[in-house]
Amino acid sequence: MTDYSVEATGLTKYFDSFKAVDHVSLQVPAGCIYGVLGPNGAGKTTSLRMMLGIVDPDEGTSRLLGSHRPQAVRHRIGYLPEERGLYPGMKAREAIAFMGALRGLDWSEGRRRAATFMTELGLERVIDEKIRKMSKGMAQMVQLIGSIVHAPDLIVLDEPFSGLDPVNQERLETLVRREQARGATILFSTHVMAHAERLCDRLAIIARSARRFEGTVDDARALLPMQVRYTPRDGSDTVAALLPAGAERRGEAWHFAIEDSAVEPLLARITAGGHGVAGLSIARPALHDAFVHIVRQVDAGFDGDPEEDAIEEDAA
């Protein structure tokens, strides 16, 4: 038994001549919540599909829960695909039990757990309602329950938050944390940074088919210098001389980035300058900014290489 629930090495997938996924490697430690972030069409879904053995990679290997054959451990895995799908004619309880049965759970036990889960998530009204009569968000919650009803050790959720209202998003976050507390490893993809920032123990950023970052949320945020917002008490323009070059004035406040090592000297300068402090905040940028920064950098790299871009457009 390894300490990693997912170990993917060098996963590569071509669609025609387009390299949809380019040597993506991921190591998801057991028991953590791991986010795969990336812009639309970056290759997140294809990477997840390859990890789960739904799509065969052209290169690379994937190991789930210590096994090279996903089918061998399939009853310990739960998966919510990006393209949601349920049989519209099935009742919610049956749909959940069916998905559990696919993963080796007993039908009657599946039905029982379905009722419990749905009640907990505030869906008790529609337990015996057919899927086609439900709203899209409800159906998605049903499918989510179906993905975890068999209490899997590894839960893979592809864009689980999209299509949910804020209340259900909150419920989903609670559910994810609870599953982690139960001992499950959760791997999910998203392009909404707020969820990732709140939930993830570690994350990877995939852009332009390749992995561009791997680490904790704080690691990602540390990629960018800290942001300072300083409002002098006297409001004079001469304060600009004390601040680093590139400081920008918006209203009363000055905005600028600052290296970690420059924080204390700056404070000393401001105190000594005599302009006073009406407001001061020094903060790490949000994950959002780090993400946009990384993706932009990657895009800039591609723009600098027109030939590679041309190939890609051909394929698309």
Binding site: G53, I54, P81, L86, P88
Partner: protein, 410 residues
């Protein structure tokens, strides 16, 4: 139970219930009623025509009172020996005013022949020259006269002995074989074609990814086949029960005399396939299952490649032609048992179930069927395996392009 089998049954259960638990299924189940109803209406009309014709036909003997009983007795004894039963005999007492030609022309019934005059030199008026009815009247007259001349013949005590084996003619067995081919083909045609569109549902509502992630695709395909087979067997069982119940009702309504009168169909039932009825029926059912699985697997695999409902509709024509082709091949083989064509049809996997069912009608061997069933089962597995490979390669991996020939060339 192995996990594979478990998955298979989960899929089969879902498919079976999804089909059966709908109002549409009732329509599907009762569809043959329309066929039966049409047949009944047509049949009733035809039989009424035949009945009125038969009831009206007669032959007439005009005889003296002394001859009446003798004539009736002769008719009774000779009638049964005739290859085709003559029309009803009507015996009338001779009188001066009774003109045979007038009798022959009486309205209300078809009079085939009228005999009058002394029995040694009867005058026979026929509707058509040299008719069998006329000859039959002459024969009766001859019998009466011969009896009188020779006196009562000594009674004979015949002892009948029937061949219990080899009693059924080869021709009858061949038609039995053809019947088996036809029935299996018809049922397969009606029921197996449904599998073409079965994966379209999962592709349409995106459930396929859940299935593909959770269970091996082989068990998805086989499970679907099994689900459809369940529906087919339910369908057949329902109609078999209806037929049996109908038979019982008919048996209680009819009096034994009427059943005895319908001697011909009973005689047809006495035809036995070479391998015996229980074995023939059992193996026929097994071959139906195989035919269903084999053709169903092909259709499922082909249908899985289709992207839209329209494509599935387009595909149903070549599929029907393929089925009819297999039927023709097997039918030809059934009418020429032992020929090279028959051997080919029995070995070629997609016609094998039909052709082997026909063989069971004409050939005593039992062991060969086990071999054939095994051979067909291998092909079912092979077709499913290939369908899955194609599906994985084309539909699941191909991103937006689902066609096989659009695969990556990296």
């Amino acid at each position: 139970m192995t996990p594979f089998l478990r998955n298979l049954l989960v899929i089969a259960r879902r498919d079976f219930l999804a089909i059966v638990a709908t109002p549409t299924f009732l329509l599907f189940l009762l569809a043959p009623l329309f066929m039966v109803g049409m047949g009944l209406v047509g049949g009733m009309g035809a039989s009424q025509l035949a009945d009125s014709a038969r009831g009206a036909g007669r032959i007439v003997a005009i005889a003296d009172a002394a001859d009446v009983e003798a004539l009736r007795a002769a008719d009774k004894s000779l009638r049964a020996a005739m290859p085709r039963e003559p029309a009803t005999l009507e015996v009338r007492l001779a009188s001066a005013s009774l003109d045979p030609v007038a009798v022959a022309r009486e309205k209300g019934s078809d009079t085939y022949a009228v005999m009058s005059g002394p029995l040694t030199a009867p005058r026979i008026v026929e509707r058509e020259a040299n008719s069998s009815s006329g000859r039959y009247l002459a024969l009766i007259a001859g019998e009466v006269v011969r009896g009188r001349v020779a006196g009562a013949p000594p009674p004979i005590a015949p002892h009948f002995e029937a061949l219990t084996h080899g009693g059924t003619s080869i021709a009858a067995q061949q038609s039995l074989g053809f019947g088996a081919v036809f029935v299996i083909f018809l049922v397969t045609l009606l029921l197996a074609g449904q599998t073409v569109s079965s994966l379209a549902e999962e592709k349409g509502n995106k459930v396929i990814e859940i299935l593909a992630a959770a269970v091996p695709l082989e068990s998805v395909f086989l499970g679907k086949l099994l689900g459809f087979l369940g529906v087919a067997i339910l369908f057949i069982a329902f109609w078999l029960l209806v037929a049996i119940a109908g038979g019982f009702v008919a048996a209680t309504q009819l009096d034994p005399a009427a059943i005895a009168a319908a001697g011909k169909p009973a005689a047809a039932l006495a035809v036995a396939p070479a391998s015996g009825w229980p074995f023939f029926i059992g193996v026929g059912f097994a071959y139906f299952v195989m035919a269903f699985l084999l053709l169903g697997a092909v259709f499922l695999g082909v249908g899985a490649q289709a992207g839209t409902v329209r494509e599935i509709q387009m595909l149903s024509l070549p599929i029907t032609i393929f089925q009819v082709g297999m039927f023709s091949l097997s039918a030809a083989a059934a009418s020429a048992p032992g020929s090279r064509l028959a051997t080919f049809a029995q070995i070629f996997p997609f016609s094998s179930p039909f052709a082997m069912a026909a063989r069971a009608a004409t050939d005593e061997g039992h062991g060969i069927h086990l071999l054939a069933l095994g051979w067909q089962a291998i092909w079912v597995a092979l077709v499913v395996y290939l369908s899955v490979r194609l599906f994985r390669a084309g539909v699941l991996s191909g991103g937006s392009g689902w066609k096989v020939w659009k695969r990556k060339r990296a």
